[in-house]
Amino acid sequence: MSVLAVIEHDRGTIASASLGVLTAARNLAVQMGTSLEAVTVGTNADALSTVAAQYGATVVHQAHHSALTDFGPEAWGEAVAQVVRKNSPQVVIGTGTERGHEVIAQVAARLDLPASMNCLEFDSSFTGAQPLKVVRARWGGSLLEESEVDAAIKLVTLANHTFEAVESPASASNVVHEVELNDSVMHSFVQDRVERVAGVTLATAPVVVSGGRGVGSAEAFAPLEELAGLLGGVVGCSRAVTNNGWRNHTDQVGQTGTRIAPDIYIACGISGAIQHWVGAMASKNILAINTDKEANIVTKAGYAVIGDLHKIIPAISEEIRRRRG
């Protein structure tokens, strides 16, 4: 009887989303009157037991196999599935990241159990015996779905950024599991990795200057590039821009692009369709520059300038340069 948190890590470095998962799993365990346990995959993650204990895990299951040196969705799924099978936790919670969803889906497929992804809330009267009611995000968060996970072991992932990580130290014992992995799960390991060039990315930039259909062309992004450069930020865009071939998809903010959380999001010529909004809504401040004062993005933004972005953006850059002397 336990709630099991699946720790996501990259070659031994814990993913920050794992801390929210540990916190949410602990809260649920307390509510159910059971204990928080955690599982790590690969010997390179053994050291993360201390992090799990810091968040209240009393048992950390360490899945070991000589092949588990880097991420491999099928091998990770199989390793976690074997730990789940042995321990029968009532709830298993994974991270709501690309890897997290994938591992929980692999576990679900292997154990033929239902899985509910991107959960935002769990039923506060859940004790472990009945089906687990959850609220999960659909449409990238623009609709919510109340649903029920009906199985002896409930598999879920947690929508990212919904649970703040709060420590609650416990003393944990480690249990090593020598998992068995057959050839069928060996083909999907990371074989090679081209490391990202150091620098700010869309997901981590403090300032994002984004353009939409209103920018008009690929060339017309130059003033946005200039402003982003002056503020140490990066340029983003809406799906309309990517579809027009003006910018690469790696710059796209939204449900099918990148979720951002900058100090300020400067949205230029973007109407703010819901699929764009869900990617931008975690921004601490939003400044919309738009000709239409009724545009969705303007009504949702904290600040707005009404007018032609092609005149306004160069004027802002000019003012920045003037003040810097």
Binding site: D10, F71, P73, E74, E98, H101, E102, A105, Q106, A108, A109, L113, P114, M117, N118, P131, V135, R138, W139, G140, L143, L144, E145, E146, S147, E148, A151, H187, V190, Q191, D192, R193, V194, E195, L231, T242, G245, T250, Q252, Q255, T256, G257, D263, A273, Q275, M281, T299, K300, A301, Y303, A304, V305, I306, G307, A315, I316, E318, E319, I320, R323
Partner: protein, 255 residues
């Protein structure tokens, strides 16, 4: 090489999605429908691979009768064959969907030989379940990775590129394999006149299939609380530049 692409009919992205009064579904009265964005890219990727390496693309969907429209869209951009697995509901749960699709794929393969690749979208735009492709791949005994932002064929191996926080990961999957594709892998083409004609003529195969009801039950849909902001208008036109820079200073992003 023969490629199967599994797609889903979803309301067109960008539209405001309204919930029916009973909260059990989406009000489709004023909605346009499309192929879910990741899968639209999966179809494009399959067509590009076949153009390069030969073979043909088959597209499959499990959905209402109207989903035939999405299959024909896929044919208009280069798919050769289309298979509809009709259901009377708008959606099945992920376990049931996967079981039904896997069984149809097995029948198709018993009749015509194995698909070298079975492609899916990373997740459907509407239900965002992140699991049907993974469940189907396991049932078919194919290696599977999700999140592909690049896919090339090198001999008998599918080379997948995928983004992570650390960089670009490379996976090498022996074929036959299954891969979940993400938007951004390519820019889907528009149909040509020839494609449009082909899409009208194509014979859509209807194959009934079943699956047992799974353990994830939708109770009802809700709209999240609207964010209402008391938007502060800093000004109109270029004259607002000074107020903008004041704000940037105040927020500490302009130093």
């Amino acid at each position: 090489m023969n490629i199967l692409v599994c797609v889903k009919r979803v309301p067109a992205p960008g539209a405001r999605i309204n919930i029916t009064e009973d909260g059990l579904g989406v009000d489709t009265a004023f909605l346009g429908f499309t192929v879910s964005p990741h899968e639209e890219c999966a179809v494009e990727q399959a067509v590009q691979l076949v153009e390069k390496h030969g073979g043909e693309v088959t597209v499959l969907t499990l959905g209402p009768a109207e989903a035939e429209e999405q299959l024909r869209t896929a044919v208009s951009v280069g798919a050769a064959k289309a298979v509809l697995v009709p259901i009377t509901e708008s959606d099945w749960d992920p376990q049931r969907t996967a079981q039904a699709i896997a069984s149809v794929i097995t029948d198709l393969e018993n009749a015509n030989g194995k698909f070298d690749l079975v492609l899916f979208g990373n997740e459907s735009a509407d239900s965002c379940g992140y699991q049907v492709g993974i469940r189907v791949a396991l049932k078919l005994g194919r290696p599977m990775v999700n999140g592909a932002k690049g896919l090339d064929i090198e001999g008998s191996v599918a080379k997948v590129r995928r983004e992570s926080d650390a960089g670009m990961e490379i996976y090498l999957l022996p074929m036959p394999s299954a891969i979940g594709v993400k938007e951004g892998i390519n820019l889907p083409r528009y149909p040509t006149m020839k494609g449009r004609l082909a899409s009208k003529k194509v014979d859509v195969t209807r194959t009934e299939s079943t699956g047992s009801v799974g353990g994830l039950k939708m109770i009802q849909l809700q709209r999240p609380p609207e964010r209402v902001s008391n938007t502060q208008i800093l000004g109109t036109g270029p004259e607002a530049a000074s107020a903008v820079v004041d704000l940037l200073e105040e927020l500490g992003v302009f130093k």
